[in-house]
């Protein structure tokens, strides 16, 4: 009798717990979320809901042409916008499977990133490892509504691109967690990868409305100062940034040799930023140590010769220095320490940093920077000479 009574109590209580249960088919899986600004300076949120396979390929009527659904709403906050959207959706939006968040350039330039990030940090469903991309002015909706014709949603495609590229190229991708961390670190400014659509084929008709001829380009990098975006980087600068942050493993770089080209793949890289204080003045040593192998050569060089290799190494070092100098120049121009020099000073000389923290940017353009690059080519591929 006692046991039955306890069982009864437990049962009633358990059944009260049901309120959190949600049937899977009521979920709308959101894989991509874009946030921008509309004309009234309100936040616009565009989300992409993944469509089910049978809904996409279903030929017998009702089948959608795109593999995803788009919802759009605006409000003063992201939550308000989502709430407005939810009223006309027949699903409950589920954000745990968001793969990519795209933020609009205008929003970042005017409102800054910090207020936007709060939603993602606070929300239980969104993961901190979600990738953050930045769309150029006015292209947010176009990017999100582009259907590449792979029969899957954009979020999944983008995630696949990023995981692939991460091991094969120079990249500057950041996820929410890293972005928040950078924002919270003193002496460091944010940079983040951008997203754009470019033509898949060599020629591209601007009238082509069907996105099947387009593809995504994730090479752009946006830089920030004090939570607000201030500019884009050029190709050279981008490479320099990746070299300094040490995220080029597996990346390919082509260097000119006697009007011909030679391609190298970076197999190992170690970048170190070491601040030094001499007589009350800071100067920074950037040490980049990389190992590469030859991918392709158009030259008629003798790779069995030690001197040739040395020469290639020297040229590579020069190229790298050029890239790094370019990014340094840009950083100084923008007065944004996205390379994190201040942070390294803080790590090494915390007391010194505390004193000069507030006037950092008055020093910043004049800080002496030594760039030391060591390159080693250790593999010439399957053949010695071509």
């Amino acid at each position: 009798m006692k046991k039955i009574m306890v069982l009864f109590i437990v049962m009633t209580y358990t059944l009260m717990g049901c309120s959190d249960s949600i049937e899977t088919e009521q979920l709308g899986i959101v894989t991509l979320m874009g946030v921008g600004l509309d004309e009234n300076k309100d936040i616009t949120v565009v989300i992409q809901e993944k469509l089910l396979e049978n809904q996409v390929t279903g030929t017998g009527g009702g089948g959608s042409t795109t593999p995803f659904l788009l919802y759009k709403g605006s409000g003063r906050t992201i939550s308000e916008a989502l709430q407005k959207m939810a009223t006309d959706a027949h699903h409950r939006f589920y954000f745990s499977h968001i793969k990519i968040i795209i933020l609009d350039e205008v929003l970042l330039r005017t409102n800054g990133i910090k207020d936007i990030l709060d939603f993602y940090e606070r929300n239980q469903e969104v993961r901190l490892s979600t990738w953050l991309l930045i769309s150029p002015k006015g292209k947010l909706e176009k990017i999100i509504s582009t259907d590449l014709g792979y029969n899957t949603d954009t979020g999944t495609i983008l995630e696949e691109i990023i995981t692939l590229e991460k091991n094969n190229s120079f990249y500057n991708y950041n996820n929410i967690s890293t972005v928040t961390e950078i924002l919270n670190t003193s002496g460091r400014e944010l940079f983040a990868s951008g997203i754009n659509t470019v033509c898949k084929h060599l020629e591209c008709k601007s009238s082509d409305k069907n996105g099947a001829n387009e593809k995504f380009d994730l090479r752009d990098t946006a830089v920030f100062k004090d939570t607000k975006m201030i500019g884009w980087l050029s190709t050279e600068e981008r490479r320099g940034l990746s070299l300094i942050t040490g995220t080029v493993k597996g990346g390919e770089m082509t260097i000119p040799i006697k009007n011909k080209a030679l391609s190298l793949r970076v197999t190992k890289i170690k970048s170190k930023i070491e601040p030094e204080i001499e007589k009350g003045k800071v100067h920074i040593n950037i040490n980049v140590d990389l190992t590469s192998r030859i991918l392709e050569s158009q030259t008629k060089l003798d790779f069995t010769d030690e001197n040739t290799i040395k020469m290639i190494e020297q040229i590579q070092i020069k190229e790298i220095k050029k890239d790094i100098t370019a990014i340094l120049k840009k950083s100084r121009e923008l007065k944004s320490d996205f390379l994190g020099f201040g942070n390294y000073v803080n790590m090494r000389y915390p007391l010194f940093w505390r004193k000069m923290k507030n006037e950092w940017y008055s020093y910043y353009p004049d800080i002496k920077v030594n760039i030391n690059v060591h390159s080693k080519i250790e593999n010439t591929g399957k053949v010695h000479n071509a």
Partner: protein
């Protein structure tokens, strides 16, 4: 399968009165009533009493004869037809008494009686003298023949048991590929012989007692002296002797009476129909209970991990056995929690499911009219019904059930969107995982426990599942089976015993016996110190 069917020549009952109820005495003979009756000198009186007690039975054979060529002494032989081996009766009892006695020169009745007293004439192996009617009837009912002689106030109970029984066949329930294949049958003596044949030790003890007021079933407690702890034997003995029931028809009657935690879902006694498993258990210092009329014997104490072991583990190479054992534990876990976990994940923790899988779950579930929880219950319930039907039906039809149920209904149900294909996978994986559990009784409890866990998983998500599992863990940790903690040797942890639970270490590593059970812990001489 063949039966030793005996001929029915000895029936000499008058069957002329057709269809009229033979007059039976209405007196009921209880043990207490039989207690006081002594066997008297007069054979007539004795026959009368026996007839009063069991006389109205058709299968009672009363064979009158006289002893001696002169000084005739009337004698009578009672036995139940088909409970005895008639060849034995003919060759070893009747023939010596009626013909062989004279060849040895005996002629008078008293002489013959004297020879019988000395144990000379009757060539049947077992012969006991009794002087109480109670023991006489007991022997008679067990299948002995009873010889009564005029002016002797004792009866001779001659063992001539021989009744129809199944031959020793291959084990149905615990089949193995490599090991010995013989299995216990319903006859106690055969079962004992199967164990005795494996352990030729003077220390192997079979002690029996009668349980069941009406059935008087023989229950035999077996153990090896010196290995098994005496407290365990006395505890088992006292629990069995306390059983108060009218009849024991199977070994699980005993099991239910002697379990420590009768309210627990988990079986606390291992049962097997394999003599080699029983012998191994005896060697580990356990007590084995053999019950007459049951092919299943009981092994005590039966702690959790011993219930998950299969005989096959010891006949395969140890690498393989270890892997199989680990796989089996995984299977137990799957069988217990997979549906609950699926429900928790699908209803509460969709983030645990990879995106693509979640999408396919959703697309599979579009059009299914029931919520996840109901669908899961429906499927699990259907499966249990099919399984029960398959077990109850005769074997050839049983397979038809699985075909109809599994293939036809399953396929149709999926196509008609009554259930989603993923749920079918979950349920069948669970079912298959249940089949890997070698002990039928523990697989039943795991099947049963799946349902409350499903409720918890569907209502409170993983928190509920965790509460349920923790509850089970606490419950399991609190049970003892005959003094042995149920979760031994995992908790309380005995590292040396894990060699034979988590893994199956090579046999030469098992230097010690399970420490919680055996008294003499050394398996090998090298460790004697």
């Amino acid at each position: 399968m063949f039966f030793n069917i005996k001929n029915r020549n000895h029936k000499n009952k008058d069957v002329t009165k057709k269809n009229s109820m033979p007059s039976a005495s209405l007196e009921v003979y209880t043990e207490a009533k039989l207690e006081g009756i002594k066997i008297s000198n007069s054979i007539i009186e004795n026959i009368e009493i026996i007839n009063k007690i069991v006389g109205e039975n058709t299968d009672l054979v009363t064979r009158h004869f006289t002893l001696g060529r002169n000084k005739l002494i009337p004698a009578v032989l009672f036995y139940f037809d088909n409970m005895i081996d008639s060849a034995h009766i003919d060759l070893n009892i009747i023939q010596p008494l009626l013909t062989d006695a004279y060849t040895s020169g005996l002629t008078t009745g008293p002489e013959i009686i004297k020879a019988i007293e000395l144990g000379n004439i009757i060539s049947r192996g077992q012969m006991t003298k009794v002087n109480e009617m109670k023991t006489l009837t007991n022997g008679l009912l067990e299948g002995d023949a009873v010889l009564l002689i005029e002016s002797v106030n004792e009866a001779y109970v001659l063992s001539a048991k021989g009744y129809a029984h199944r031959a020793v066949t291959v084990s149905d329930i615990e089949p193995v590929v490599n090991g010995p294949k013989d299995a216990f049958i319903e006859v106690l003596s055969v079962n004992l012989s199967l164990i005795r044949r494996r352990i030729h030790s003077p220390n192997l003890v079979f002690q029996s007692l009668k349980v069941g007021k009406v059935t008087q079933t023989t229950v035999c407690v077996a153990y090896i002296k010196g290995i098994c702890s005496t407290e365990l034997v006395t505890e088992v003995w006292s629990r069995i002797s306390k059983i108060d029931i009218d009849g024991i028809l199977g070994s699980n009657y005993i099991e239910e009476f002697i379990s420590d935690e009768p309210f627990s879902v988990f079986p606390q006694v291992r049962n097997t129909d394999r003599p080699d498993v029983a012998s191994a258990a005896l060697l580990e210092g356990r007590v084995v209970i053999v019950v007459d009329n049951t092919p299943k014997i009981l092994i005590l104490p039966g702690e959790f991990f011993s219930l998950l072991q299969s005989a096959e583990d010891y006949y395969n190479r140890y690498f393989f056995s270890t892997v199989i054992r680990l796989l089996r534990y995984l299977a137990v876990f799957i069988a217990l929690t997979l549906p609950a976990f699926y429900l928790a994940a699908a209803n509460f923790h969709q983030e645990l499911i990879p995106t693509d899988l979640l999408v396919s779950i959703i697309s599979a579930r579009t059009g299914v009219p029931f919520p996840n929880f109901l669908e899961a219950f429906l499927m699990e319930g259907t499966f249990e019904i099919l399984r029960e039907a398959g077990v109850r039906l005769p074997r050839p039809i049983g397979q038809a059930v699985s075909i109809v149920g599994g293939l036809v209904i399953g396929q149709a149900a999926v196509q008609a969107s009554i259930v989603s294909p993923l749920m079918v996978i979950v349920v069948s994986l669970t079912a298959i995982a249940t089949f890997t559990i070698p002990q039928y009784n523990i697989s039943q409890s795991i099947r049963l426990l799946r349902f409350p866990l499903m409720i918890l998983g569907a209502t409170l998500g993983l928190y509920g599942l965790m509460l349920g599992l923790l509850f089970l863990l606490i419950h399991l940790a609190s049970i003892r089976s005959f003094g042995t903690p149920y979760l031994a040797p995992l908790s309380p942890l005995k590292l040396s015993d894990l060699k034979d639970t988590v893994i199956r270490a090579p046999l030469w590593v098992h230097i010690k016996r399970p420490s919680e059970i055996a008294r003499n812990k050394n398996r090998m001489d090298s460790n004697k110190n």
